[in-house]
């Protein structure tokens, strides 16, 4: 099995200090800046807390040992792709964001990738400044352990926007997957109508952010400019995809004069370039209906197994609901998409 979304969690800035230069170590010391506090998953919510105990005194996700003991060994995982959603995008100081992103990536290499050949990782990039994010991709994109760049799905500017081209130049030059992941801290409201009161709303609304990003990537011609670009949606759910694709295709049929560079309907671009992590399963509880939804995707190869460890999902770690058709979901779809051996 290939697990395309397990979380490496930075416990605190002390693990990053060895990977920071003297200037930033001094900044952390003199300001007591404790790193980004925004979290895609507030720690005490039910979705954040898996039923996982500490391992050797370390919280799940903070050490390689916890991953090995709770995911890789019990599930017999062949390859797992590390996601670290350390919210450097919430830090407005662009140099601090870039320094911390680099430190996290060096920590991922030293403490995770170098120590277990089953691991791959997504690069943390300082998306506040696309050009600086590109620099980080160029710095480490050639490292064989990095197979993706981590793009929080909530950005200040949709990823199709031309301002992102330096970053996508770098991502495609290094043949990485652009990994759109639940969360993000652009400082702008998550909805068309401002800030919701509760986190459960924001959690549900994240599907809208994924829809917006897919539409932007397609409409701006990103896949025409970067024909080899591969995108993964993680912690996105997928039940919303068929309805979204129908609506996008219909809108394009009426308005295609506005985006004449598109050579096909939006759904064709999405089915070719985009793959989706399995968790959280947000489809119907009824297996027959779930099978209908997957059938409506029109491309069963779009789904890739993911545990989202250490976050909690109904059914328990690694569960795959009835109604999913294809054994390729467990490994081969991700192997192809991430170009794993």
């Amino acid at each position: 099995m290939i697990d395309c979304d397990v979380h490496a969690v930075v416990p605190d800035t002390s693990v990053l200090e060895p990977h920071l230069d003297d200037h930033w170590r001094e900044v952390l010391t003199t300001t007591q800046f404790s790193g980004p506090t925004d979290q895609a998953h507030p720690p005490n919510l039910a979705t954040s807390l898996g039923d996982f105990p500490a391992v050797d005194g370390a919280a799940p996700g903070t050490t390689l040992r916890s991953l090995q003991a709770q995911v890789l060994e019990p599930l017999g995982i062949e390859t797992a792709i590390l996601t670290c959603d350390y919210a450097v995008d919430s830090i407005r100081n662009p140099d601090a964001a870039a320094a911390l992103a680099s430190a996290v990536n060096d920590w991922l290499v030293a403490e995770w990738l170098d120590r277990d050949p089953r691991l791959r990782a997504a690069l943390v990039v300082p998306i506040g400044q696309p050009a600086m994010a590109a620099v980080e991709v160029h710095r480490l994109g050639g490292h064989p352990g990095f197979v993706a760049a981590h793009l929080p799905v909530r950005s200040a500017m949709p990823y199709g926007n031309r301002g992102w081209w330096p970053l996508f130049d770098a991502i495609t030059e290094h043949d990485l997957v652009a990994q759109l992941h639940f969360g993000g801290s652009p400082g702008l409201p998550p909805t068309a109508s401002g800030w919701p009161s509760t986190w459960i709303e924001e959690h549900v609304d994240m599907a809208s952010a994924f829809q917006s990003q897919l539409l932007s990537l397609v409409a701006e011609g990103t896949f025409d400019r970067y024909p080899g670009l591969r995108v993964a949606l993680l912690e996105a759910g997928f039940a919303w995809l068929p309805a979204f694709l129908w609506r996008a295709d219909k809108g394009w049929r009426g308005l295609r004069r506005e985006v004449p560079w598109l050579r096909r309907e939006p759904s064709a671009y999405v089915r070719e370039h985009v793959r989706v992590g399995l968790q959280p399963v947000d489809g119907p509880p009824d297996a027959a209906q779930l099978a209908q939804v997957v059938d409506q995707l029109g491309a069963p190869e779009m789904l890739m197994f993911a545990t989202d460890w250490p976050h909690r999902h109904p059914g328990g770690l690694g569960s795959v609901p009835d109604g999913l058709p294809d054994a390729a979901i467990l490994s081969e779809n991700a192997r192809t998409h991430y170009r794993l051996p």
């Binding site: 919510l45 039910a46 979705t47 909530r154 950005s155 200040a156 500017m157 949709p158 990823y159 926007n161 993000g184 652009p186 702008l188 998550p190 909805t191 068309a192 109508s193 401002g194 800030w195 919701p196 009161s197 509760t198 986190w199 459960i200 709303e201 959690h203 549900v204 609304d205 994240m206 599907a207 809208s208 952010a209 917006s212 539409l215 932007s216 409409a219 701006e220 039940a239 919303w240 068929p242 309805a243 129908w246 609506r247 295709d249 219909k250 809108g251 009426g254 308005l255 506005e258 985006v259 759904s267 959280p280 947000d282 489809g283 119907p284 209908q292 939804v293 409506q296 029109g298 109904p314």
Partner: protein, 363 residues
């Protein structure tokens, strides 16, 4: 027979509404801040200070069907005889619900918006409802102020030809928040549903990911605004607070609803403590309180997926037909609702559901 739940009538010009404004507001609206005449003629919305900075060249002038301009050159849907000819008579429409998109709710000056709303409502009664018995109207309100909205609802609601209160989907804050409750309460007390229509500027980008570049993204992406607003209404417990409230989502399409209900139900299983007022699954609340109009009717690639979509929704008595006349993405009563849905569903969609929702037989 057909009920059309979304017809965008418009005045010939903003000054045509001035007869319905009190003198002070007429002076105010005639004075500074007015748009150049050619700019005004290119827009459907009125008023002088709403949230701007989010404009797209759209499909057509005023986003209208190119054949919807009346012979006298007046704006689309501003000429009742031509609207009768092109819509009501042409398709044998039994009732049509007017939903003028004139921007009363979007004015940054709330009292100015309320004055504009009152003028729009009086104009509708005098120039549309009086001469044409097939028409029903929506109460325009300055919906960012609950008290002003409640006052306007009270003023209009005794006229049974007003069948709903009208908002736009992109409000300044999420719809479930308390500032909108006085509006919802006033509507529910009068037995009126609240219709929430495509559009509006919100107070920032359409998406949680910044400003999109194209009208295509604005038009298609508006479906996400509907999804997020329904999420807010349900999880904030509005329907528990106001059990008689009925919400009509207009011009949002329908296909996104079943997936949203699944997603909300699953979130509620894990995170129900975040929504302490809610004591049952979000999908149950939605099926009880929410109606949707069809246009733009969803078009699955395989037609056979359309009945599947309706099976998943489980809301056969809540989906109502709309044309969106005179806009470019008009859904024809003859073609938009495919036969594959079956005659029973089609009859409910084309007529029966709207009759029950707006109590059309009763008035």
């Amino acid at each position: 027979m057909i009920v059309d739940c979304d017809i965008h009538n418009a005045p010939v010009s903003e000054t045509a509404l001035h007869a319905y404004l009190p003198e002070a507001w007429r002076r105010r609206r005639s004075a500074g801040g007015r748009l150049a005449p050619e700019v005004e003629a290119s827009r459907e919305t009125l008023g002088d200070r709403s949230y701007l900075g989010s404009e797209y060249p759209r499909a057509t002038p005023r986003a209208a069907r190119t054949d919807a301009w009346p012979p006298d050159g007046s704006p689309p849907a501003s000429n009742l005889p031509f609207l009768r000819e092109q819509l009501l008579d042409r398709y044998d429409i039994e009732y049509g619900v007017l939903t003028p998109m004139l921007g009363a709710g979007e004015q940054l000056d709330l009292e100015s918006g309320a004055a504009l709303a009152s003028a729009i409502n009086d104009w509708q009664a005098a120039e549309w409802l009086d001469p044409e018995p097939r028409l029903r109207a929506s109460i325009n309100v300055a919906y960012e102020d609950g008290e002003l909205s409640a006052r306007e609802i009270a003023r209009c609601a005794d006229d049974p030809r007003f069948v709903q209160v009208l908002m736009l989907i992109r409000t300044a804050e999420p719809l479930g928040r308390r500032k909108y409750w006085p509006l919802f309460r006033a509507a529910a007390e009068r037995g009126l549903p609240v219709g929430v229509h495509y559009g509006g500027w919100g107070r920032g980008p359409l998406t949680g990911t910044g400003f999109p570049s194209f009208y295509l993204e604005d038009q298609v992406g508006m479906a996400t605004a509907f999804q997020d607003q329904l999420t807010s209404l349900v999880f904030e417990g509005v329907f528990e607070e106001i059990p008689e409230l009925r919400i009509v989502l207009i011009e949002g399409g329908v296909a996104w609803l079943a997936p949203l209900m699944w997603r909300m139900d699953r979130a509620f299983e894990l995170l129900g403590s975040e929504a302490p007022k809610l004591d049952r699954r979000p999908s149950e609340v939605i099926r009880e309180h929410v109606w949707l109009t069809t246009q733009p009717m969803d078009e699955p690639e395989r037609t056979a997926d359309l009945p599947v979509l309706f099976d998943h929704m489980g809301m056969d008595d809540r989906i109502c037909f709309a044309t969106d006349y005179p806009h470019w993405d008009f859904d024809s009563p003859e073609r938009a609702i495919p036969r594959v849905l079956g005659e029973d569903r089609r009859r409910r969609i084309m007529r029966d559901n709207a009759h029950a929702l707006y109590r059309l037989g009763d008035g």
